[in-house]
C-alpha cells in the first residue's frame, strides 16, 4: 500500500468515526453546539441564532456540504500543508518536533464596512507609532512634554542607545507590522499588541488562501473576496523603496533553519525572487555589506531581517551573537544598507508603552484613536498595582516583555495558588507586569472532532509602510483549537483560519 493510500485509509476511518458521532449527515445539525451567545460575540451567528448577513452566502453553501466531504476537505488541507513543508518548530533530524500549523477549513469572514474602519485605525496607529519612534530616538519631545514617562522609555531594555540620533532611510522605522486584535463581546475590535519587531505568520495568510481556494472553488468565484496574493510584490516594492539605487539588491536575512519561522523566511525570499541569506553569507567591508557568492563579493542594499535587534551585530549589540554580521550596524548608520524593520522599534511595542498609545496618537496627530486600546493597569503605578492585587482573579496579567502567551496569568481560569504566585511576582518586580480586564474573544465556527463548533479567535492583519501605509486586505486569524480555550498561539495548541475580507 502506498504512502498516500495508507493516509487515505486513516482518513476513511476518521471520517466514519466522525460520522458516527454526528446525528445527521449534514453539518447544519451542529450549528448551535458550543454556542452561548450571551458570553461572547460569534462572527457567524447573532445571539438569537440568526446568520449574520456577510456569512449568509457561505452558510448556504456550507449547509449543502456533507460532514464526510467536509472532513475530506480538512484532510486534504492537512496533506497539502505537509507536502509543502509548511511547518514551524523545525529542529534538526527530529521529525517529531516538526509540526504543521493546523489550518481550519471554515473561513473567518470580515464585511467591508468593518474592514474600512480597521484599515483607517491601523494606518493611524502605525503612522503615530512611527513618529513616536523617530521622536524618542531624536528630539524626545513627547518625553519632555511629560506625555510618556521618560524612565519608561529611556530605562527600557529595548531602547537601543546605538540608535540615538539616528534617522533610518526615508524616516521609516516600522516597515512591517503585524498587529494583534480581538473582538470583544460588544462586537468591537480591540488592539492587543502592536508587534513592531519581526511579526511572523504572513506566509500562513498567503498559503492558507491558496489551500482554501482549492477547497471552495465555487464560493470564491461568487463571493467577492479581496486578494492577498500580491503581498510579496508589495513587500518587495516597499523594500526597494528604502534604497536610492534604481535596482537595489534585496535579501531576506534569516537566523537559519532552526528558527521556528524558517519556512516563512524561505517562502518570502522565493516569492519575492530575492536571496535568502544567513549571517555567515554576509561580510562588511568599508561600511558596505556584501554577500559571499561563487563569483566573489556582491553588495546588498536592503535587508528584510528576521533576526532580533540584539543578534544583528556582535560588535554593537550582543557580543556572543553567532547569527549576526559584525560591522553591519556601522554600515547601517553610514546609510549603506537599509534594515527592515529598523533596529530599535521594540521600545514601542512594550506592553507598558502600549497603555500610552492612545495618548501618543493624540499627541502627534491631534486625532482621537479610531481603534480601542484594552484598558491597561500598569503595576509600576501604585494605584493601578493595588487594583490589580485586589482584583487579580478577574484580570489577565502579562509580563511587559514576554511574547507568545508565556509569562501570562488568565485570572478567571487560574487556581488560587497561581493567583498567589503572581501577586508575589508583581510585588517583587512591579514594572515587569501589566494587567487588563479579561476580554471575551469572539468565536468562529470551526471543524472539530465533534463537528462544527465555535472556537475563539484573534486577528493579525499586516501593515506595510513604504511610500505610503498600506493594510493588506486579509489577515492571519489564529484560532484556539481547544474548546473554550483563549490561547491562540501556535506554540500552545493554536491553529489558523483563512480570513476573507469582502469587497462589499
Amino acid at each position: 500500500m502506498s504512502f498516500i493510500q495508507k493516509n487515505l485509509l486513516v482518513f476513511e476511518l476518521l471520517a466514519n468515526w466522525v460520522k458516527l458521532k454526528c446525528d445527521s449527515k449534514f453539518l447544519i445539525c451542529m450549528k448551535i453546539e458550543g454556542y452561548n451567545a450571551s458570553e461572547h460575540y460569534d462572527e457567524m451567528f447573532t445571539n438569537v441564532g440568526e446568520i449574520r448577513p456577510h456569512y449568509e452566502e457561505f452558510y448556504q453553501s456550507l449547509k449543502k456540504i456533507p460532514i464526510r466531504k467536509m472532513n475530506h476537505l480538512q484532510f486534504s488541507a492537512n496533506q497539502t500543508q505537509r507536502a509543502m513543508g509548511m511547518t514551524f518548530n523545525v529542529y534538526h533530524d527530529n521529525q517529531g518536533l516538526e509540526k504543521i500549523l493546523h489550518l481550519d477549513i471554515v473561513p473567518r469572514i470580515i464585511p467591508n464596512d468593518e474592514w474600512l474602519k480597521l484599515e483607517a485605525g491601523l494606518k493611524q496607529r502605525t503612522y503615530a507609532l512611527n513618529l513616536f519612534l523617530q521622536d524618542v530616538y531624536n528630539d524626545r519631545k513627547i518625553l519632555k512634554d511629560g506625555i510618556v514617562p521618560e524612565e519608561l522609555i529611556l530605562g527600557s531594555k529595548d531602547y537601543l542607545k546605538p540608535c540615538i540620533g539616528l534617522t533610518p532611510p526615508k524616516g521609516i522605522w516600522c516597515h512591517i507590522t503585524g498587529t494583534d486584535l480581538i473582538k470583544n463581546k460588544d462586537g468591537d475590535y480591540y488592539i492587543l499588541e502592536d508587534n513592531l519587531r519581526c511579526p511572523s505568520g504572513v506566509s500562513y495568510m498567503l498559503e492558507s488562501r491558496e489551500i482554501i481556494k482549492r477547497a471552495y472553488p465555487n464560493i470564491f468565484n461568487q463571493k467577492g473576496i479581496r486578494p492577498v496574493s500580491d503581498y510579496p510584490a508589495k513587500l518587495l516594492r516597499m523594500l526597494q523603496h528604502l534604497s536610492n539605487k534604481s535596482k537595489p539588491v534585496v535579501g531576506v536575512l534569516t537566523p537559519g533553519i532552526y528558527n521556528s519561522a524558517y519556512y516563512e523566511h524561505s517562502y518570502l525570499a522565493l516569492q519575492m525572487g530575492v536571496e535568502l541569506v544567513n549571517g555567515v553569507d554576509l561580510i562588511v567591508e568599508d561600511k558596505k555589506v556584501y554577500m559571499q557568492t561563487t563569483k566573489g563579493l556582491e553588495q546588498i542594499d536592503v535587508l528584510y531581517r528576521r533576526i532580533d535587534d540584539a543578534f544583528l551585530d556582535p560588535l554593537t549589540f550582543r557580543p556572543d551573537s553567532m547569527l549576526g554580521i559584525p560591522g553591519i550596524f556601522e554600515a547601517y548608520k553610514a546609510g549603506n544598507v537599509a534594515l527592515a524593520n529598523a533596529p530599535g522599534t521594540g521600545v514601542a511595542d512594550d506592553k507598558a508603552v502600549y497603555a500610552y498609545v492612545p495618548k501618543i496618537i493624540k499627541y502627534y496627530l491631534g486625532e482621537e484613536p479610531i481603534l480601542n486600546n484594552v484598558p491597561t493597569y500598569l503595576c509600576r503605578e501604585e494605584k493601578d498595582r493595588k487594583y490589580v492585587l485586589d482584583h487579580i482573579e478577574e484580570l489577565v496579567v502579562k509580563e511587559t516583555n514576554a511574547a507568545g502567551g508565556y509569562g501570562m496569568l488568565i485570572g478567571p481560569k487560574a487556581t488560587k495558588e497561581e493567583h498567589a504566585k503572581f501577586r508575589e511576582l508583581i510585588k517583587s518586580n512591579p514594572t515587569n507586569y501589566i494587567a487588563q480586564p479579561t476580554l471575551s474573544l469572539s468565536t468562529v465556527p470551526s471543524l472539530t472532532e465533534e463537528g462544527i463548533s465555535g472556537r475563539h479567535v484573534d486577528l493579525r492583519p499586516y501593515i506595510l509602510y513604504g511610500n505610503e501605509i498600506e493594510v493588506i486586505p486579509g489577515a492571519l486569524t489564529r484560532v484556539a483549537l481547544k474548546k473554550g480555550s483563549l490561547v491562540v498561539n501556535s506554540s500552545q495548541g493554536g491553529g489558523s483560519k483563512d480570513t476573507w475580507v469582502l469587497y462589499n
Partner: protein, 325 residues
C-alpha cells in the same frame, strides 16, 4: 549564487545519488545471493566493506546477518551514509535552499523522506524480499532527477547539483565494482566458472548496464566488464563518463569553455579525466583492480575538497571585520 547555497545544492546532488546507489547495492547483492548454491553461506559483509563502513559496523553490531546489514545500510541513523541518513541530509539541504528549488522538486524530496520513515516503521529489513521497497525509493529519486531535468534552468545551480551527482556516482560505481572483489568464491578455481559469470551479470544489472554491455561486448568477460564500467565513453554510469560530466559542469560554472583550467578543481578533474581517457583496461588489471579503485576514490575525495575550497568556503566575517578596524 551564494557560496553557501551552491554548497547545499552540491550536497543535495551527492546525497540523493548516494541513496540511489545504496538501493542499487542492495539489489545487486540480492541478485547475487539468489544465484549462490544452497550450501554456500549468504555473503552480506562484502556489501558493507564496499561502502567503506565496515569498521563502523563492527563497533555497532556483532551480528553479521542479512537483516542486520540491511538495517545498517538502509535505515540506521547511526550510519551517516545509510539511505535514511543520506535522504535526511538531502532533505535538510533542500529545505535550506528551498527558495532555489522548484516546488515539485522540494515536494518529491519531502515525500521521499516520508517514504523512508514509513519503511523504517514497517521494518522492511526483516521482510523476506524487500526489493520492491528499494525499487520504489530508487524510482522516487529518478523521478526527482526527471523533474529537475525538465524544469531547472541550465544556470549555475543546475551545474552544481549535476557536479555533486556525477562525482558521487563515479565513487559509487567504483564501489559497486569493488563488491565483486570482496565476494568470495568457494575456491580460487571457481574463477571463470558459470558462478563467477553470474556474479558479473548481477553486477551489470544493478547499474542498469546489462543490456548495453551485451550489445557492446556480447559475452561476459571480467576485463570487459571492468572496461565498460570504468572507461566506457558513452555509458552514463561509467567512471570516465561521470568525470567528463563533472568537468563539463565545472567549466560551465566558471565560464571557462576554452579548455585548460581556471582553478585547482578544474585542473584536478581534467587530469583525472584524461588519465582515464587514455587508459587501457590492461593497465587497470595490471595495477590490481581493487588498488586501482581505491586510488581513484582517494582522488575523487581530493577533487571534492578542491571544489569546496574554490567555491564554498566562506570568509569569517568576524575576523575580516576586526582586521579592518
Amino acid at each position: 549564487m551564494l557560496s553557501r547555497v551552491a554548497s547545499h545544492i552540491y550536497w543535495l546532488g551527492r546525497y540523493l545519488e548516494r541513496a540511489e546507489n545504496y538501493a542499487r547495492f542492495i539489489d545487486v547483492n540480492f541478485n547475487l545471493m539468489q544465484d549462490l548454491p544452497v550450501d554456500l553461506k549468504e555473503q552480506w559483509q562484502p556489501l558493507v566493506a564496499a561502502t567503506g563502513d565496515w569498521e563502523l559496523f563492527q563497533t555497532l553490531y556483532s551480528d553479521y546477518g542479512k537483516n542486520q546489514i540491511l538495517y545498517f545500510l538502509a535505515f540506521d541513523s547511526e550510519n551517516p551514509n545509510s539511505m535514511l541518513s543520506s535522504i535526511m541530509k538531502s532533505r535538510e539541504n533542500a529545505r535550506i535552499i528551498r527558495e532555489n528549488l522548484s516546488k515539485e522538486t522540494w515536494e518529491k524530496v519531502n515525500e521521499l523522506y516520508y517514504m523512508m520513515l514509513e519503511g523504517k516503521d514497517k521494518k522492511i529489513w526483516k521482510k523476506a524480499d524487500p526489493r520492491y521497497f528499494f525499487e520504489r525509493i530508487k524510482n522516487q529519486i529518478l523521478l526527482i532527477y526527471g523533474i529537475a531535468d525538465n524544469s531547472v534552468a541550465r544556470v549555475e545551480g543546475w551545474y552544481f547539483r549535476q557536479l555533486g551527482q556525477f562525482l558521487e556516482r563515479a565513487d559509487k560505481t567504483s564501489r559497486i565494482l569493488d563488491v565483486k572483489y570482496h565476494i568470495l568464491l568457494p575456491s580460487g578455481q571457481d574463477v571463470g566458472t558459470p558462478l563467477d559469470f553470474l556474479h558479473w551479470m548481477a553486477l551489470l544489472k544493478s547499474v542498469t548496464g546489462f543490456n548495453t554491455y551485451r550489445r557492446v561486448y556480447g559475452t561476459i568477460d571480467p576485463s570487459n566488464v571492468v572496461e565498460f564500467l570504468v572507461l566506457n565513453k558513452y555509458f552514463p554510469r561509467s567512471i570516465y563518463y561521470c568525470l567528463k560530466e563533472a568537468e563539463y559542469c565545472l567549466h560551465h560554472i566558471s565560464g571557462n569553455l576554452d579548455g585548460g583550467f581556471k582553478n585547482p578543481a578544474e585542473k584536478s578533474v581534467g587530469e583525472l579525466r584524461s588519465r582515464l581517457e587514455f587508459a587501457e583496461v590492461s593497465d587497470i588489471i595490471g595495477f590490481g583492480l581493487h588498488e586501482y579503485l581505491d586510488n581513484l576514490q582517494i582522488k575523487l575525495n581530493n577533487l571534492s575538497d578542491l571544489i569546496d575550497s574554490t567555491y564554498f568556503r566562506l570568509r569569517d566575517n568576524f575576523i575580516s571585520q576586526t582586521n579592518d578596524q
